[in-house]
């Protein structure tokens, strides 16, 4: 069972990397982009077979290590 955790900076937290990407896109002629936020994707290969149990375990992992909830939000997808 594969879990994908998408981690992004919370709204309102400055994202200088997203801003730099936005600036670079603008320089390449993609002037119609309203905003860019950069995040990260963590893929976990789990032994679980029950998706609800897997979700609960990955949520615990996010709170323990994967995300810093002072500045980051996370979203879990189980596939």
């Amino acid at each position: 069972m594969i879990a994908r955790v998408t981690i992004t900076l919370k709204p309102g937290v400055l994202d200088p990397q997203g801003r730099a990407i936005h600036h670079a896109l603008d320089g390449l002629g993609f002037g119609d982009v309203h905003g860019v936020r950069q995040g990260k994707l963590i893929e976990l290969d789990l032994a679980d077979t029950d998706s609800a149990a897997a979700h609960a375990r990955v949520d615990a992992m996010c709170r323990a290590l994967l995300a810093n909830t002072v500045i980051e939000a996370y979203r879990i997808e189980i596939a």
Partner: protein
């Protein structure tokens, strides 16, 4: 005073801070991050600068969960002194021993230069050798030193005298909220700061403004 410097894989300012502490008169032991116990009789724990665990995931994230950190947390809870410098500050915020987080520098670039600091609360064991508002020169060297906390937390830190140092007006190198360079925990016994006092603590370094932090700690006992 007995100091313990915790070394993580990727620490690189540990030896410099050991020298600064010894020069100030401390007895210093070096402890490995995987050791669950602090050296016996430790009064002061120092988390040095560097790039613990390669800054993977987030700066300080893995180090904050190291076995030694449980002992550091217990030491802080007993009122023991803890000083986190640069990467050590990042570790303390990741461990939840200090509020807020250190984000990527607003200018995106790694910044390595002297900055002017203004001591704010000088009634702490760490800052007692400085006068409020005086101009103190201490170097920074970091890529992720942009102090962030929500407005409510920042108000509380300022209201409770928990800002130890600010960057002097116009000299904020990283975009830190309210020019904050160093913060204290509620008990005033844990300090995290991005600047490196150990890097300006000998005349051969070109100045000794940083040495006063260690001398103040030693005078505290």
């Amino acid at each position: 005073m007995k100091a313990a410097v915790i070394v993580f894989p990727g620490s690189n300012c540990d030896r410099d801070v050991v020298v600064a502490l010894r020069e100030a008169g401390a007895s210093v032991r070096i402890a490995w991050h995987a050791d669950p116990d602090l050296p016996g009789g430790t009064d002061l724990v120092v988390l040095p600068g560097g790039f613990a665990h390669g800054d993977y995931l987030r700066c300080g994230a893995m180090a904050a969960r190291a076995p030694a950190m449980a002992a550091v947390r217990a030491h802080a809870a007993r009122g023991g002194l803890v000083l986190g410098l640069c990467n050590g500050f990042q570790v303390l915020t990741e461990a939840g021993l200090l509020p807020g987080a250190l984000l990527r520098n607003a200018g995106l670039a790694y910044v390595c230069r002297d900055v002017m600091l203004e001591p704010v609360n000088t009634e702490t064991p760490f800052t007692r050798a400085y006068a409020p508002g005086e101009a103190v020169r201490i170097p920074v060297g970091h890529h992720d030193g942009n102090y962030f906390a929500d407005d409510e937390t920042l108000d509380r830190l300022e209201g409770e005298g928990r800002v130890a140092f600010r960057y002097a007006a116009g000299d904020n190198p990283n975009g830190s909220a309210r020019d904050i360079a160093g913060v204290l925990n509620a008990g005033g016994n844990v300090l995290g700061m991005m600047p490196h006092p150990e890097r300006l603590s000998d005349p051969a370094h070109g100045g000794i403004d940083g040495r006063r932090l260690f001398e103040g700690l030693l005078a505290h006992g």
